[in-house]
Point group: C2
DNA sequence: CAAATTTATGCAATCGCTTGCAATAGAGAT
DNA sequence: ATCTCTATTGCAAGCGATTGCATAAATTTG
């Protein structure tokens, strides 16, 4: 591999000049700069990553933290797309992306400790946001920069994050059903301790209230198909006139669809469904799910942009909201209002 | 951050001694070694990654190459699990994992060029295997070590890889249906130019031949539900007595299931289905899919192990086959043989 | 034309760590 | 007691970049 000395020699200058030339320093004359650049190109030169970082003491790699394995969460295609987004902007900026994972919370924290101690991570990006996350604690403790994707649970004002406006998204989803004539709309969720879910629910509740419609909650209990059927039977006993559902994500919507479609009585009723994330699950469903797209790749990109900017210690934190967008497919039907 | 000098000073030795002590060099006396280690621990010392790599000229990071975005492929949870596996063994070995992605093939190759030129990647791991992959060409050209996950398309003997025995898996899947009394079994695929698919098909064909049963192929044409219905109508016209399907992966199986279940005539027939990968899609289906698990995380781990071992230039390549395992759920039914 | 600037370059130190080789000390041999 | 030989340890030179400061060349100025 060509070093800066090779470049310098070929251009007939000293290494320092070469370095400056390649960094576009103003004090190098145009002709030499050109010579150097030409030489560099000819030698296919790229600065040695380690040497550069060592010399500048400013590391250029972004640490991406994956959540501890929680099968359900983890099989979500979401993550990969965020990672892609992050890596996309990083490589464009000559940075690297490196990963932190762990089987258990302890292991993850330990891995992060090591990464911090090795001192070559500029900023961490957490692909998730969790209550009382030990990783966040560690990061704060060592005063390492980080950006979270999702809404922070604590010190919201002090931490930089990228997120969708999930409340608004919840509102939009419910409103969409209302616009299609639905009046009794169920909200399907699985875990309200997760902010995504509770926010979307809040959004749902907001429109429902504004329209003087009742909140109708349905907690996912679909471990098995039979369990799902049972849950729904109970549900419909209590709320017989529900015509549509807002499901807190596509996967849940698909699950719900599966049980609804397997009971002839329910099937004929053609319940309307709307999900979130616009993932592969939306396409897999039949009818295909109308879904709120949230652009995970974009979330990743924005997070990376924040991570790569210079953040003086006293700077205020940054929050970026990535817009969502409803993707209309075939799971929402117009109905004649029942009222 | 503590440097090696700090450690040395605290232990009352020179940096070189400290270095050697921490690497477990034999020529350092036990007492000094202990002193040094103690000091290091007290200072929470970890060697600076960049400095270390610079000094040893032996880079310790593994480059993980993601395939160029091809939505279908990409939304497969598979990848994340492989990445996890890789990272798991890397961090245990004090290595880092870094990613290479690209919107287009050109961009991906360019990114890899840069990574190579920066000279700090020990080995690349390709998470996919493709015919005439420009990435592979580049890697060979620059004589960079790499491991592929999946079966290499060229120079199989010369390249290290990790894969499942997909032929055997195909055989096992078909055999399982045969064991349950099925005699007319369809094989559902989408793209035979992909080795995974063609291998699984080969396996299927093998058992079918051995049992003097006909090969019955069905190419996925399910862009829309209507298209799927049409395709299947044609199919059943030609093969009215098919009772089960081997689908080349879970997602395809789920798609097939969706269209089969939405036609009353088909639904009553209770076709048996078996898929591959045992992904989230298997669980989402109803009835849940019997599926061949292939252990992506394990694939990643094995790939990482190979990648981290020392490979003298003239060494033979390594190939590791990760076993698969049938996961029995509810999508395969026993039937009275028709023969 | 000499002096004072301005402009461009190169020298050498530094980042933190590793490692070949020289230096030291202690033990054993004669 | 002197000499050899090991067993340990430290010195100093890199690894490949960046950067403050000195220096040389070119230009302007008095």
């Amino acid at each position: 591999m060509a070093t800066i000395k090779d470049v310098a020699q070929r251009a007939g200058v000293s290494p320092s000049t070469a370095s400056r030339a390649m960094h576009g320093s103003k004090i190098i004359s145009k002709p030499t700069r050109d010579k150097v650049i030409k030489a560099a190109r000819e030698l296919n030169y790229a600065p040695d990553f380690n040497a550069q970082n060592l010399a500048t003491k400013a590391s250029n790699t972004i640490g991406v933290v994956l959540p501890v394995d929680h099968h359900e969460i983890f099989s979500n295609p979401f993550f990969l797309e965020m990672i892609r987004g992050i890596n996309e902007v990083c490589s464009k900026n000559g940075s690297m992306t490196t990963l932190a994972t762990g089987i258990s919370s302890d292991e993850l924290v330990h891995n992060i400790d090591v990464m911090i101690a090795q001192g070559h991570i500029r900023t961490f990006i957490l692909l998730y946001s969790e209550k009382d996350d030990p990783v966040v604690e560690r990061l704060k403790q060592f005063d390492v920069q980080y950006v979270v994707i999702g809404k922070p649970y604590q010190e919201v004002n002090k931490t930089s994050y990228v997120d969708n406006d999930n409340i608004q998204a919840g509102t939009d989803a419910a409103q969409y059903l209302i616009d299609h004539g639905h009046r009794r709309i169920g909200f399907l969720y699985s875990d309200l301790s997760r902010m995504v879910q509770s926010d979307r629910m809040l959004g749902y509740q907001r429109v429902m209230m504004q329209n003087h419609l009742p909140n109708i909650m349905l907690e996912e209990r679909f471990e098995t198909h039979a369990a799902g059927v049972k849950t729904l039977h109970k549900f419909f006993e209590q709320y017989p006139d529900v015509t549509g559902f807002v499901a807190v994500d596509d996967m849940l919507a698909l699950k719900l669809q599966q049980v609804l479609h397997n009971d002839p009585d329910w099937k004929v009723k053609q319940f309307s469904l709307i999900g979130f994330n616009n993932s592969i699950f939306s396409d897999l469903a039949h009818p295909m799910l109308t879904s709120i797209a949230v652009f995970p790749q974009r979330l990743g990109e924005e997070a990376a942009k924040i991570a790569m900017a210079d953040h003086p210690a006293d700077e205020l934190s940054t929050a970026v909201i990535v817009p969502h967008q409803i993707v209309k497919r075939h799971s929402v039907h117009q109905i004649k209002s029942l009222q």
